[in-house]
């Protein structure tokens, strides 16, 4: 009984699982090099626009102190990086004064 179970597991169940995932992998949508180029362009475009928007917001905020740009997504790494640098510079300044 146990041998039959082992044979079934090795010769039927195992290839079944493998073939199942192989077909799944084959039928899943793959991206072409055109898609890749498009995604790359979108990435750099979004990044550039984001940076430009940051600059515009900063310019408006420096002209008008009551303008506070609201952030939908808080605690983003890309924003935190700059804030950390600012913190570091402030700490250095404080250290230089003492």
């Amino acid at each position: 009984m146990e041998e039959v179970l082992a044979i079934v597991a090795i010769f039927i169940a195992l290839p079944w699982i493998i073939l199942h995932y192989v077909t799944k992998w084959k039928t899943s949508a793959t991206i072409t090099s055109d898609d890749e180029a498009l995604l790359e362009e979108l990435y750099s475009l979004a990044k550039r626009l984001d940076e430009r928007m940051d600059t515009v917001e900063r310019l408006v905020a420096s002209d008008n102190p009551d303008f506070k740009p609201a952030r939908l997504i808080h605690d983003r790494e890309i924003d935190n990086e700059k804030l950390r640098e600012l913190d570091r510079m402030l700490a250095e300044k404080k250290g230089a004064h003492q």
Binding site: E36, Y43, A46, M53, V60, P69
Partner: protein, 130 residues
């Protein structure tokens, strides 16, 4: 620093010789999937023990067949993570890009509304004329 050549594919599996321990296959898989290289290596070693060394020829076959990763494939860490997400699910990445574009649109609209509704420069001009 100049970027990678335009025709280098970012969706193929490479072996990562820069972060390699032996041939860079595990480091390449780690770079491809975004899983930490340590876990890939531990998993591979564990699998080798369990399977009784069957995986070792596969490792060397992969080491010989896979191309080396071009040195400056990604400009920074953020770009590397972006392509890891693309490889996991291009559809989700497209949605993320759309969300990012919408966020920029919203912020731009906010600046526009600010200038249209409060118009601080116009009020300043009026103040000056009084």
């Amino acid at each position: 620093m100049n970027g990678p050549p335009v025709n280098t594919s970012r969706t193929t599996l490479y072996r990562d010789k820069q972060n390699a321990k032996l041939m860079g296959v595990c480091a390449g898989i780690a770079d491809y999937t975004g899983v930490n290289a340590l876990w890939v290596r531990l998993g591979f070693i564990g699998l080798t023990f369990v399977a009784g060394g069957v995986t070792i020829p596969f490792y060397f076959a992969a080491g010989l067949l896979l191309n080396k990763k071009p040195p400056h494939l990604y400009v920074d860490r953020e770009e590397q993570q972006y392509w890891q997400r693309v490889r996991q699910s291009p559809k989700r990445t497209a949605r993320e890009i759309r969300a990012r574009m919408r966020d920029i649109d919203r912020r731009l609209a906010e600046v526009e509304t600010y200038y249209v509704s409060s118009n601080p420069r116009l009020t300043a001009e009026i103040e000056r004329l009084r």
